[in-house]
Symmetry: C2
Subunit: 297 residues, 2 copies
Protein backbone atom coordinates (compact mmCIF):
# COMPACT_ATOMS: atom_id res chain seq x y z
CA UNK A 1 0.00 0.00 0.00
CA UNK A 2 0.98 3.61 -0.54
CA UNK A 3 1.17 5.02 2.99
CA UNK A 4 1.71 8.58 1.89
CA UNK A 5 -1.41 8.53 -0.26
CA UNK A 6 -3.38 6.85 2.54
CA UNK A 7 -2.30 9.43 5.12
CA UNK A 8 -3.05 12.32 2.79
CA UNK A 9 -6.59 11.09 2.05
CA UNK A 10 -7.41 10.47 5.72
CA UNK A 11 -5.87 13.82 6.70
CA UNK A 12 -8.07 15.63 4.16
CA UNK A 13 -11.22 14.04 5.56
CA UNK A 14 -10.16 14.81 9.14
CA UNK A 15 -9.28 18.40 8.27
CA UNK A 16 -12.65 18.93 6.62
CA UNK A 17 -14.37 17.82 9.82
CA UNK A 18 -12.06 19.91 12.02
CA UNK A 19 -12.76 22.98 9.86
CA UNK A 20 -16.42 22.55 10.71
CA UNK A 21 -15.64 22.26 14.46
CA UNK A 22 -13.34 25.29 14.48
CA UNK A 23 -14.05 27.39 11.40
CA UNK A 24 -11.72 30.17 10.23
CA UNK A 25 -12.42 33.14 12.48
CA UNK A 26 -13.87 36.53 11.69
CA UNK A 27 -11.43 39.40 12.05
CA UNK A 28 -12.72 40.47 15.48
CA UNK A 29 -12.86 36.94 16.88
CA UNK A 30 -9.48 36.54 18.58
CA UNK A 31 -10.47 33.37 20.45
CA UNK A 32 -11.59 31.68 17.25
CA UNK A 33 -8.41 32.80 15.52
CA UNK A 34 -6.24 31.45 18.33
CA UNK A 35 -8.02 28.08 18.27
CA UNK A 36 -7.82 27.85 14.48
CA UNK A 37 -4.16 28.89 14.39
CA UNK A 38 -2.91 25.96 16.44
CA UNK A 39 -5.38 23.42 15.09
CA UNK A 40 -4.19 24.10 11.55
CA UNK A 41 -0.49 24.61 12.23
CA UNK A 42 0.65 21.49 10.40
CA UNK A 43 -0.23 18.63 12.74
CA UNK A 44 0.23 15.13 11.33
CA UNK A 45 -3.23 14.09 12.64
CA UNK A 46 -1.65 10.88 13.97
CA UNK A 47 -4.27 10.30 16.68
CA UNK A 48 -7.38 10.71 14.50
CA UNK A 49 -5.78 8.68 11.71
CA UNK A 50 -5.05 5.88 14.19
CA UNK A 51 -8.67 5.88 15.36
CA UNK A 52 -9.94 5.70 11.77
CA UNK A 53 -7.37 3.03 10.83
CA UNK A 54 -8.37 0.91 13.85
CA UNK A 55 -11.99 1.03 12.72
CA UNK A 56 -10.93 0.13 9.19
CA UNK A 57 -8.93 -2.82 10.52
CA UNK A 58 -12.24 -4.24 11.78
CA UNK A 59 -14.26 -3.29 8.69
CA UNK A 60 -16.12 -0.73 10.78
CA UNK A 61 -18.05 2.37 9.74
CA UNK A 62 -15.58 5.27 9.50
CA UNK A 63 -18.36 7.90 9.52
CA UNK A 64 -19.13 6.88 13.10
CA UNK A 65 -15.56 7.14 14.33
CA UNK A 66 -14.69 10.42 12.56
CA UNK A 67 -16.04 12.88 15.20
CA UNK A 68 -14.36 10.94 18.01
CA UNK A 69 -11.14 10.81 16.01
CA UNK A 70 -11.23 14.55 15.48
CA UNK A 71 -12.00 15.17 19.16
CA UNK A 72 -8.66 13.50 19.93
CA UNK A 73 -6.92 16.05 17.71
CA UNK A 74 -8.69 18.91 19.51
CA UNK A 75 -7.42 17.51 22.82
CA UNK A 76 -3.92 16.97 21.46
CA UNK A 77 -3.84 20.56 20.16
CA UNK A 78 -5.02 22.04 23.47
CA UNK A 79 -2.28 20.10 25.28
CA UNK A 80 0.41 21.47 22.95
CA UNK A 81 -0.78 25.05 23.46
CA UNK A 82 -0.72 24.72 27.25
CA UNK A 83 2.58 22.77 27.27
CA UNK A 84 4.32 25.56 25.34
CA UNK A 85 3.33 28.28 27.86
CA UNK A 86 6.10 30.15 29.69
CA UNK A 87 5.01 28.61 33.02
CA UNK A 88 5.37 25.11 31.52
CA UNK A 89 7.87 24.12 28.83
CA UNK A 90 8.35 27.74 27.72
CA UNK A 91 8.65 26.97 24.01
CA UNK A 92 8.57 29.78 21.46
CA UNK A 93 8.31 27.52 18.45
CA UNK A 94 5.91 24.72 17.56
CA UNK A 95 6.16 22.95 14.21
CA UNK A 96 8.37 25.75 12.96
CA UNK A 97 5.83 28.46 13.77
CA UNK A 98 5.56 30.81 16.75
CA UNK A 99 3.82 29.11 19.65
CA UNK A 100 0.21 30.15 20.28
CA UNK A 101 1.02 32.44 23.22
CA UNK A 102 3.73 34.17 21.17
CA UNK A 103 1.05 35.22 18.67
CA UNK A 104 -2.03 35.73 20.84
CA UNK A 105 -0.62 36.32 24.32
CA UNK A 106 -0.65 34.03 27.34
CA UNK A 107 -4.21 34.64 28.53
CA UNK A 108 -5.66 33.99 25.09
CA UNK A 109 -3.52 30.87 24.63
CA UNK A 110 -4.81 29.43 27.91
CA UNK A 111 -8.41 30.18 26.90
CA UNK A 112 -7.94 28.79 23.38
CA UNK A 113 -6.68 25.56 24.96
CA UNK A 114 -9.61 25.48 27.38
CA UNK A 115 -12.05 26.02 24.52
CA UNK A 116 -10.47 23.30 22.35
CA UNK A 117 -10.63 20.79 25.22
CA UNK A 118 -14.27 21.67 25.89
CA UNK A 119 -15.11 21.50 22.19
CA UNK A 120 -13.67 17.98 22.04
CA UNK A 121 -16.25 16.75 24.52
CA UNK A 122 -18.99 18.71 22.78
CA UNK A 123 -18.16 17.02 19.49
CA UNK A 124 -18.13 13.55 21.10
CA UNK A 125 -21.35 14.04 23.06
CA UNK A 126 -23.16 15.27 19.96
CA UNK A 127 -21.82 12.39 17.90
CA UNK A 128 -22.80 9.86 20.54
CA UNK A 129 -26.43 10.99 20.35
CA UNK A 130 -26.63 10.63 16.58
CA UNK A 131 -29.05 8.02 15.21
CA UNK A 132 -27.36 4.75 14.34
CA UNK A 133 -24.54 5.24 16.85
CA UNK A 134 -24.43 2.65 19.62
CA UNK A 135 -24.66 4.89 22.67
CA UNK A 136 -23.13 2.42 25.09
CA UNK A 137 -20.00 2.11 22.93
CA UNK A 138 -19.81 5.86 22.40
CA UNK A 139 -20.07 6.52 26.13
CA UNK A 140 -17.28 4.05 26.80
CA UNK A 141 -15.11 5.94 24.31
CA UNK A 142 -16.01 9.26 25.92
CA UNK A 143 -15.14 7.90 29.37
CA UNK A 144 -11.84 6.45 28.17
CA UNK A 145 -10.80 9.58 26.29
CA UNK A 146 -11.49 11.68 29.39
CA UNK A 147 -9.51 9.27 31.56
CA UNK A 148 -6.60 9.27 29.10
CA UNK A 149 -6.56 13.09 29.00
CA UNK A 150 -6.83 13.93 32.67
CA UNK A 151 -5.14 13.42 35.98
CA UNK A 152 -4.59 9.68 35.40
CA UNK A 153 -3.33 10.29 31.86
CA UNK A 154 -1.97 13.21 29.89
CA UNK A 155 -2.20 15.96 32.53
CA UNK A 156 -0.72 13.64 35.17
CA UNK A 157 2.14 12.86 32.79
CA UNK A 158 2.80 16.52 32.08
CA UNK A 159 3.01 17.26 35.81
CA UNK A 160 5.49 14.42 36.32
CA UNK A 161 7.45 15.62 33.29
CA UNK A 162 7.79 19.14 34.70
CA UNK A 163 8.79 17.75 38.09
CA UNK A 164 11.41 15.46 36.54
CA UNK A 165 13.29 18.38 34.98
CA UNK A 166 16.61 18.90 36.68
CA UNK A 167 16.23 15.82 38.87
CA UNK A 168 18.00 12.47 38.51
CA UNK A 169 15.81 10.23 36.37
CA UNK A 170 15.74 6.51 35.70
CA UNK A 171 14.15 4.31 33.06
CA UNK A 172 10.97 3.41 35.03
CA UNK A 173 10.29 7.11 35.65
CA UNK A 174 10.73 8.01 31.99
CA UNK A 175 8.41 5.18 30.98
CA UNK A 176 5.85 6.20 33.59
CA UNK A 177 5.84 9.75 32.24
CA UNK A 178 5.72 8.83 28.56
CA UNK A 179 2.96 6.23 29.02
CA UNK A 180 0.79 8.98 30.46
CA UNK A 181 1.95 12.09 28.64
CA UNK A 182 1.66 10.77 25.09
CA UNK A 183 0.94 7.04 25.38
CA UNK A 184 -2.49 7.30 26.97
CA UNK A 185 -4.08 9.39 24.21
CA UNK A 186 -2.58 7.26 21.42
CA UNK A 187 -3.84 4.12 23.17
CA UNK A 188 -7.25 5.78 23.54
CA UNK A 189 -7.26 6.66 19.82
CA UNK A 190 -6.76 3.05 18.75
CA UNK A 191 -9.28 1.79 21.32
CA UNK A 192 -11.83 4.40 20.24
CA UNK A 193 -11.69 3.10 16.67
CA UNK A 194 -11.84 -0.50 17.85
CA UNK A 195 -14.68 0.01 20.35
CA UNK A 196 -16.86 1.95 17.91
CA UNK A 197 -16.34 -0.76 15.29
CA UNK A 198 -17.58 -3.33 17.81
CA UNK A 199 -14.30 -5.16 18.38
CA UNK A 200 -14.50 -8.58 20.07
CA UNK A 201 -12.60 -8.77 23.40
CA UNK A 202 -9.57 -10.54 21.86
CA UNK A 203 -9.41 -8.01 19.02
CA UNK A 204 -9.71 -5.14 21.48
CA UNK A 205 -6.96 -6.61 23.61
CA UNK A 206 -4.58 -6.92 20.65
CA UNK A 207 -5.32 -3.45 19.31
CA UNK A 208 -4.86 -2.01 22.79
CA UNK A 209 -1.43 -3.61 23.04
CA UNK A 210 -0.64 -2.28 19.55
CA UNK A 211 -1.62 1.22 20.71
CA UNK A 212 0.44 1.00 23.89
CA UNK A 213 3.59 -0.15 22.08
CA UNK A 214 3.12 2.37 19.30
CA UNK A 215 2.55 5.21 21.75
CA UNK A 216 5.76 4.54 23.59
CA UNK A 217 7.73 3.95 20.38
CA UNK A 218 6.40 7.18 18.99
CA UNK A 219 7.54 9.17 22.02
CA UNK A 220 11.00 7.58 21.95
CA UNK A 221 11.27 8.53 18.27
CA UNK A 222 10.28 12.06 19.19
CA UNK A 223 12.98 12.20 21.87
CA UNK A 224 15.56 10.92 19.37
CA UNK A 225 14.51 13.54 16.81
CA UNK A 226 14.81 16.25 19.44
CA UNK A 227 18.36 15.11 20.11
CA UNK A 228 19.58 14.69 16.54
CA UNK A 229 16.88 15.84 14.10
CA UNK A 230 17.37 18.84 11.85
CA UNK A 231 15.32 21.88 12.97
CA UNK A 232 13.92 22.13 9.40
CA UNK A 233 12.35 18.70 9.96
CA UNK A 234 11.27 18.94 13.60
CA UNK A 235 10.20 22.58 13.61
CA UNK A 236 11.96 23.04 16.96
CA UNK A 237 15.43 23.96 18.06
CA UNK A 238 17.67 20.90 18.39
CA UNK A 239 18.55 19.57 21.86
CA UNK A 240 15.85 21.47 23.76
CA UNK A 241 15.14 18.41 25.93
CA UNK A 242 18.78 17.93 26.85
CA UNK A 243 19.26 21.61 27.65
CA UNK A 244 16.38 21.39 30.10
CA UNK A 245 17.40 17.98 31.49
CA UNK A 246 14.09 16.54 30.33
CA UNK A 247 13.22 12.95 31.18
CA UNK A 248 13.83 11.23 27.83
CA UNK A 249 14.79 7.76 26.66
CA UNK A 250 18.03 8.92 24.99
CA UNK A 251 18.98 10.61 28.28
CA UNK A 252 18.68 7.45 30.34
CA UNK A 253 19.55 4.79 27.72
CA UNK A 254 21.79 6.57 25.25
CA UNK A 255 20.80 7.13 21.62
CA UNK A 256 21.59 3.72 20.22
CA UNK A 257 19.81 1.74 22.95
CA UNK A 258 16.84 4.11 22.67
CA UNK A 259 16.60 3.36 18.94
CA UNK A 260 16.74 -0.34 19.67
CA UNK A 261 13.98 0.01 22.23
CA UNK A 262 11.76 1.82 19.72
CA UNK A 263 12.35 -0.89 17.11
CA UNK A 264 11.51 -3.64 19.61
CA UNK A 265 8.28 -1.89 20.54
CA UNK A 266 7.25 -1.58 16.90
CA UNK A 267 8.04 -5.27 16.39
CA UNK A 268 5.73 -6.15 19.29
CA UNK A 269 3.04 -3.84 17.93
CA UNK A 270 3.24 -5.62 14.55
CA UNK A 271 3.01 -9.03 16.22
CA UNK A 272 -0.23 -8.03 17.88
CA UNK A 273 -1.66 -7.25 14.44
CA UNK A 274 -0.75 -10.66 13.10
CA UNK A 275 -4.29 -12.19 13.13
CA UNK A 276 -5.74 -9.17 11.35
CA UNK A 277 -6.16 -9.25 7.63
CA UNK A 278 -5.19 -6.86 4.88
CA UNK A 279 -7.47 -4.17 6.38
CA UNK A 280 -4.90 -3.69 9.15
CA UNK A 281 -2.20 -2.77 6.64
CA UNK A 282 -2.49 0.98 7.41
CA UNK A 283 -1.95 0.31 11.13
CA UNK A 284 1.15 -1.74 10.23
CA UNK A 285 2.54 0.92 7.95
CA UNK A 286 1.90 3.68 10.50
CA UNK A 287 3.85 1.72 13.11
CA UNK A 288 6.83 1.38 10.77
CA UNK A 289 6.55 5.02 9.78
CA UNK A 290 6.33 6.23 13.39
CA UNK A 291 9.90 5.24 14.13
CA UNK A 292 11.22 5.41 10.57
CA UNK A 293 11.57 9.17 10.93
CA UNK A 294 13.96 8.70 13.83
CA UNK A 295 15.50 5.27 13.40
CA UNK A 296 16.23 5.11 9.68
CA UNK A 297 19.59 3.47 9.09
CA UNK B 1 -38.98 26.09 54.37
CA UNK B 2 -35.62 26.57 56.07
CA UNK B 3 -33.30 27.51 53.19
CA UNK B 4 -30.16 27.40 55.27
CA UNK B 5 -30.88 23.87 56.39
CA UNK B 6 -31.77 22.85 52.85
CA UNK B 7 -28.57 24.31 51.39
CA UNK B 8 -26.44 22.70 54.11
CA UNK B 9 -27.91 19.22 53.52
CA UNK B 10 -27.52 19.44 49.74
CA UNK B 11 -24.01 20.83 50.11
CA UNK B 12 -23.02 17.91 52.32
CA UNK B 13 -24.22 15.39 49.77
CA UNK B 14 -22.49 17.24 46.93
CA UNK B 15 -19.26 17.54 48.90
CA UNK B 16 -19.26 13.81 49.63
CA UNK B 17 -19.51 13.10 45.91
CA UNK B 18 -16.85 15.68 45.05
CA UNK B 19 -14.51 14.16 47.64
CA UNK B 20 -14.77 10.88 45.73
CA UNK B 21 -14.01 12.63 42.40
CA UNK B 22 -11.03 14.56 43.78
CA UNK B 23 -9.85 12.88 46.99
CA UNK B 24 -7.45 14.57 49.41
CA UNK B 25 -4.00 14.17 47.86
CA UNK B 26 -1.00 12.24 49.10
CA UNK B 27 1.94 14.41 50.14
CA UNK B 28 3.87 13.94 46.89
CA UNK B 29 0.85 14.52 44.64
CA UNK B 30 1.01 18.24 43.89
CA UNK B 31 -1.55 18.07 41.08
CA UNK B 32 -4.09 16.32 43.31
CA UNK B 33 -3.41 18.83 46.08
CA UNK B 34 -3.89 21.78 43.71
CA UNK B 35 -7.19 20.36 42.42
CA UNK B 36 -8.43 19.61 45.94
CA UNK B 37 -7.37 23.01 47.27
CA UNK B 38 -9.61 25.03 44.96
CA UNK B 39 -12.46 22.53 44.90
CA UNK B 40 -12.76 22.72 48.69
CA UNK B 41 -12.00 26.40 49.18
CA UNK B 42 -15.47 27.32 50.40
CA UNK B 43 -17.59 27.36 47.25
CA UNK B 44 -21.34 27.77 47.78
CA UNK B 45 -22.09 24.87 45.39
CA UNK B 46 -24.76 27.04 43.74
CA UNK B 47 -24.63 25.26 40.38
CA UNK B 48 -24.90 21.68 41.67
CA UNK B 49 -27.59 22.70 44.17
CA UNK B 50 -29.59 24.30 41.34
CA UNK B 51 -29.35 21.11 39.29
CA UNK B 52 -30.54 19.00 42.22
CA UNK B 53 -33.30 21.49 43.10
CA UNK B 54 -34.55 21.50 39.50
CA UNK B 55 -34.81 17.72 39.59
CA UNK B 56 -36.62 17.92 42.92
CA UNK B 57 -39.06 20.46 41.48
CA UNK B 58 -40.14 17.74 39.05
CA UNK B 59 -40.13 14.93 41.62
CA UNK B 60 -37.13 13.43 39.80
CA UNK B 61 -34.49 11.01 41.04
CA UNK B 62 -31.70 13.04 42.68
CA UNK B 63 -29.24 10.13 42.58
CA UNK B 64 -29.27 10.40 38.79
CA UNK B 65 -28.58 14.12 38.68
CA UNK B 66 -25.91 14.20 41.40
CA UNK B 67 -22.85 13.33 39.22
CA UNK B 68 -23.90 15.84 36.56
CA UNK B 69 -24.50 18.44 39.26
CA UNK B 70 -21.03 17.87 40.67
CA UNK B 71 -19.46 18.00 37.22
CA UNK B 72 -20.78 21.56 36.98
CA UNK B 73 -18.91 22.44 40.17
CA UNK B 74 -15.70 20.92 38.74
CA UNK B 75 -16.11 23.11 35.66
CA UNK B 76 -16.91 26.18 37.74
CA UNK B 77 -13.82 25.59 39.88
CA UNK B 78 -11.52 25.17 36.87
CA UNK B 79 -12.82 28.44 35.44
CA UNK B 80 -12.08 30.31 38.67
CA UNK B 81 -8.52 28.95 38.80
CA UNK B 82 -7.82 30.00 35.21
CA UNK B 83 -9.60 33.36 35.59
CA UNK B 84 -7.39 34.28 38.56
CA UNK B 85 -4.13 33.71 36.65
CA UNK B 86 -1.76 36.67 36.18
CA UNK B 87 -2.34 36.62 32.42
CA UNK B 88 -6.12 36.91 33.00
CA UNK B 89 -7.75 38.73 35.93
CA UNK B 90 -4.56 38.56 38.02
CA UNK B 91 -6.29 37.97 41.35
CA UNK B 92 -4.30 36.98 44.41
CA UNK B 93 -7.30 36.17 46.56
CA UNK B 94 -10.29 33.92 46.01
CA UNK B 95 -12.90 33.46 48.72
CA UNK B 96 -10.48 35.01 51.20
CA UNK B 97 -7.72 32.49 50.46
CA UNK B 98 -4.67 32.78 48.24
CA UNK B 99 -5.54 32.01 44.61
CA UNK B 100 -4.44 28.60 43.32
CA UNK B 101 -1.44 29.92 41.39
CA UNK B 102 -0.25 31.82 44.48
CA UNK B 103 0.01 28.51 46.33
CA UNK B 104 1.02 26.04 43.61
CA UNK B 105 2.56 28.23 40.91
CA UNK B 106 1.19 29.20 37.52
CA UNK B 107 2.01 26.02 35.63
CA UNK B 108 0.41 23.81 38.25
CA UNK B 109 -2.66 26.05 38.46
CA UNK B 110 -3.18 25.79 34.70
CA UNK B 111 -2.82 22.00 34.84
CA UNK B 112 -5.10 21.68 37.88
CA UNK B 113 -7.75 23.59 35.93
CA UNK B 114 -7.24 21.41 32.87
CA UNK B 115 -7.56 18.28 35.00
CA UNK B 116 -10.74 19.50 36.75
CA UNK B 117 -12.37 20.33 33.41
CA UNK B 118 -11.43 16.92 32.02
CA UNK B 119 -12.63 15.17 35.18
CA UNK B 120 -16.01 16.86 34.81
CA UNK B 121 -16.58 15.13 31.50
CA UNK B 122 -15.23 11.87 32.86
CA UNK B 123 -17.74 11.97 35.71
CA UNK B 124 -20.64 12.76 33.35
CA UNK B 125 -19.71 10.12 30.77
CA UNK B 126 -19.41 7.46 33.46
CA UNK B 127 -22.70 8.50 35.03
CA UNK B 128 -24.44 8.49 31.64
CA UNK B 129 -23.51 4.83 31.13
CA UNK B 130 -24.89 3.70 34.50
CA UNK B 131 -27.82 1.28 34.42
CA UNK B 132 -31.16 3.01 34.86
CA UNK B 133 -29.94 6.31 33.41
CA UNK B 134 -31.69 7.36 30.21
CA UNK B 135 -28.71 7.70 27.90
CA UNK B 136 -30.38 10.05 25.44
CA UNK B 137 -31.19 12.53 28.20
CA UNK B 138 -27.73 12.21 29.71
CA UNK B 139 -26.09 12.85 26.34
CA UNK B 140 -28.19 15.95 25.85
CA UNK B 141 -27.02 17.21 29.23
CA UNK B 142 -23.40 16.41 28.34
CA UNK B 143 -23.75 18.29 25.04
CA UNK B 144 -25.39 21.30 26.67
CA UNK B 145 -22.87 21.50 29.50
CA UNK B 146 -20.02 21.43 26.97
CA UNK B 147 -21.70 24.12 24.88
CA UNK B 148 -22.30 26.30 27.95
CA UNK B 149 -18.67 25.95 29.04
CA UNK B 150 -16.85 26.53 25.77
CA UNK B 151 -16.40 29.06 23.03
CA UNK B 152 -20.16 29.80 22.76
CA UNK B 153 -20.48 30.04 26.56
CA UNK B 154 -18.17 30.57 29.49
CA UNK B 155 -14.83 30.77 27.66
CA UNK B 156 -16.30 33.08 25.03
CA UNK B 157 -17.64 35.29 27.82
CA UNK B 158 -14.30 35.41 29.60
CA UNK B 159 -12.57 36.49 26.38
CA UNK B 160 -15.09 39.27 25.85
CA UNK B 161 -14.72 40.27 29.51
CA UNK B 162 -10.93 40.61 29.17
CA UNK B 163 -11.32 42.58 25.95
CA UNK B 164 -13.89 44.92 27.52
CA UNK B 165 -11.46 46.05 30.22
CA UNK B 166 -10.41 49.63 29.69
CA UNK B 167 -12.80 50.14 26.78
CA UNK B 168 -16.07 52.05 26.74
CA UNK B 169 -18.88 49.63 27.53
CA UNK B 170 -22.63 49.73 27.21
CA UNK B 171 -25.51 47.71 28.64
CA UNK B 172 -25.92 45.25 25.73
CA UNK B 173 -22.20 44.41 25.91
CA UNK B 174 -22.32 43.82 29.66
CA UNK B 175 -25.37 41.59 29.24
CA UNK B 176 -23.74 39.70 26.37
CA UNK B 177 -20.69 39.01 28.54
CA UNK B 178 -22.59 38.03 31.69
CA UNK B 179 -25.03 35.77 29.86
CA UNK B 180 -22.04 33.78 28.63
CA UNK B 181 -19.51 34.11 31.43
CA UNK B 182 -21.76 33.04 34.31
CA UNK B 183 -25.28 32.79 32.91
CA UNK B 184 -24.67 29.89 30.55
CA UNK B 185 -23.46 27.45 33.22
CA UNK B 186 -26.24 28.39 35.67
CA UNK B 187 -28.80 27.92 32.90
CA UNK B 188 -27.18 24.57 32.05
CA UNK B 189 -27.36 23.53 35.73
CA UNK B 190 -31.11 24.09 35.92
CA UNK B 191 -31.68 22.45 32.54
CA UNK B 192 -29.53 19.46 33.52
CA UNK B 193 -31.74 18.81 36.52
CA UNK B 194 -34.89 19.32 34.47
CA UNK B 195 -33.79 17.18 31.52
CA UNK B 196 -32.65 14.28 33.68
CA UNK B 197 -35.95 14.37 35.56
CA UNK B 198 -37.77 14.05 32.24
CA UNK B 199 -39.28 17.54 32.11
CA UNK B 200 -42.10 18.10 29.63
CA UNK B 201 -41.37 20.80 27.00
CA UNK B 202 -43.41 23.48 28.81
CA UNK B 203 -41.75 22.67 32.13
CA UNK B 204 -38.32 22.72 30.50
CA UNK B 205 -39.09 26.07 28.91
CA UNK B 206 -40.15 27.63 32.22
CA UNK B 207 -37.19 26.23 34.15
CA UNK B 208 -34.83 27.42 31.41
CA UNK B 209 -36.21 30.95 31.71
CA UNK B 210 -35.88 30.69 35.49
CA UNK B 211 -32.22 29.72 35.04
CA UNK B 212 -31.53 32.53 32.59
CA UNK B 213 -33.04 35.20 34.84
CA UNK B 214 -31.38 33.79 37.94
CA UNK B 215 -27.98 33.59 36.23
CA UNK B 216 -28.07 37.23 35.22
CA UNK B 217 -29.47 38.37 38.59
CA UNK B 218 -26.77 36.42 40.35
CA UNK B 219 -24.01 38.10 38.34
CA UNK B 220 -25.46 41.56 38.93
CA UNK B 221 -25.56 40.80 42.66
CA UNK B 222 -21.92 39.73 42.43
CA UNK B 223 -21.01 42.99 40.73
CA UNK B 224 -22.84 44.95 43.42
CA UNK B 225 -21.06 43.05 46.17
CA UNK B 226 -17.74 43.75 44.50
CA UNK B 227 -18.54 47.43 44.55
CA UNK B 228 -19.89 47.74 48.09
CA UNK B 229 -19.54 44.42 49.90
CA UNK B 230 -17.23 44.04 52.90
CA UNK B 231 -14.05 42.09 52.09
CA UNK B 232 -14.81 39.81 55.07
CA UNK B 233 -17.97 38.77 53.26
CA UNK B 234 -16.80 38.63 49.66
CA UNK B 235 -13.33 37.23 50.28
CA UNK B 236 -11.95 39.74 47.77
CA UNK B 237 -10.65 43.27 47.94
CA UNK B 238 -13.45 45.79 47.43
CA UNK B 239 -13.76 47.64 44.12
CA UNK B 240 -11.49 45.32 42.11
CA UNK B 241 -13.86 45.51 39.14
CA UNK B 242 -13.97 49.29 39.14
CA UNK B 243 -10.21 49.60 39.48
CA UNK B 244 -9.83 47.47 36.35
CA UNK B 245 -12.69 49.14 34.49
CA UNK B 246 -14.47 45.80 34.28
CA UNK B 247 -17.72 45.53 32.36
CA UNK B 248 -20.29 45.42 35.17
CA UNK B 249 -23.92 46.39 35.64
CA UNK B 250 -23.19 48.98 38.36
CA UNK B 251 -20.62 50.56 36.01
CA UNK B 252 -23.14 51.11 33.21
CA UNK B 253 -26.38 51.51 35.19
CA UNK B 254 -25.28 52.87 38.54
CA UNK B 255 -25.75 50.93 41.79
CA UNK B 256 -29.39 51.65 42.43
CA UNK B 257 -30.60 50.82 38.90
CA UNK B 258 -28.46 47.67 38.97
CA UNK B 259 -30.21 46.55 42.17
CA UNK B 260 -33.57 47.24 40.60
CA UNK B 261 -32.60 45.21 37.55
CA UNK B 262 -31.60 42.26 39.73
CA UNK B 263 -34.90 42.42 41.62
CA UNK B 264 -36.89 42.51 38.38
CA UNK B 265 -35.02 39.48 37.09
CA UNK B 266 -35.74 37.53 40.25
CA UNK B 267 -39.42 38.51 40.01
CA UNK B 268 -39.52 37.12 36.47
CA UNK B 269 -37.73 33.98 37.60
CA UNK B 270 -40.35 33.46 40.32
CA UNK B 271 -43.19 34.01 37.85
CA UNK B 272 -41.85 31.22 35.68
CA UNK B 273 -42.06 28.88 38.68
CA UNK B 274 -45.70 29.75 39.31
CA UNK B 275 -47.25 26.53 37.94
CA UNK B 276 -44.86 24.37 39.95
CA UNK B 277 -45.96 23.02 43.27
CA UNK B 278 -44.39 23.01 46.69
CA UNK B 279 -41.45 20.95 45.36
CA UNK B 280 -40.16 24.09 43.61
CA UNK B 281 -39.90 25.96 46.92
CA UNK B 282 -36.09 25.51 47.09
CA UNK B 283 -35.72 27.03 43.60
CA UNK B 284 -37.85 29.98 44.75
CA UNK B 285 -35.87 30.48 47.93
CA UNK B 286 -32.55 30.25 46.09
CA UNK B 287 -33.67 32.99 43.70
CA UNK B 288 -34.57 35.28 46.59
CA UNK B 289 -31.33 34.41 48.36
CA UNK B 290 -29.20 35.03 45.25
CA UNK B 291 -29.89 38.74 45.29
CA UNK B 292 -30.65 39.08 49.01
CA UNK B 293 -26.92 39.15 49.69
CA UNK B 294 -26.53 42.25 47.55
CA UNK B 295 -29.90 43.94 47.50
CA UNK B 296 -31.05 43.71 51.12
CA UNK B 297 -32.71 46.96 52.17
Amino acid sequence: MNLEHYLMRRRQRIDRFLERCVPPAAETDTLGAAMHYSLFAGGKRLRPILAVAATEALDGETTTVLPFACALELIHTYSLIHDDLPSMDDDDLRRGKPANHRVFGEGMAILAGDALLTEAFHVMAEAAARPGVKQRRALQVLTEVAAASGVRGMVGGQVADLKAEHTAIDLPTVEWIHIRKTGALIRAAVRAGALLAGARPDQLHRLTRYGECLGLAFQIADDILDAEGAPEVTGKRRGRDQARHKATFPAVLGLSAAKERASDLVATALEELQPFKRQAEPLREIARFAIGRACSP
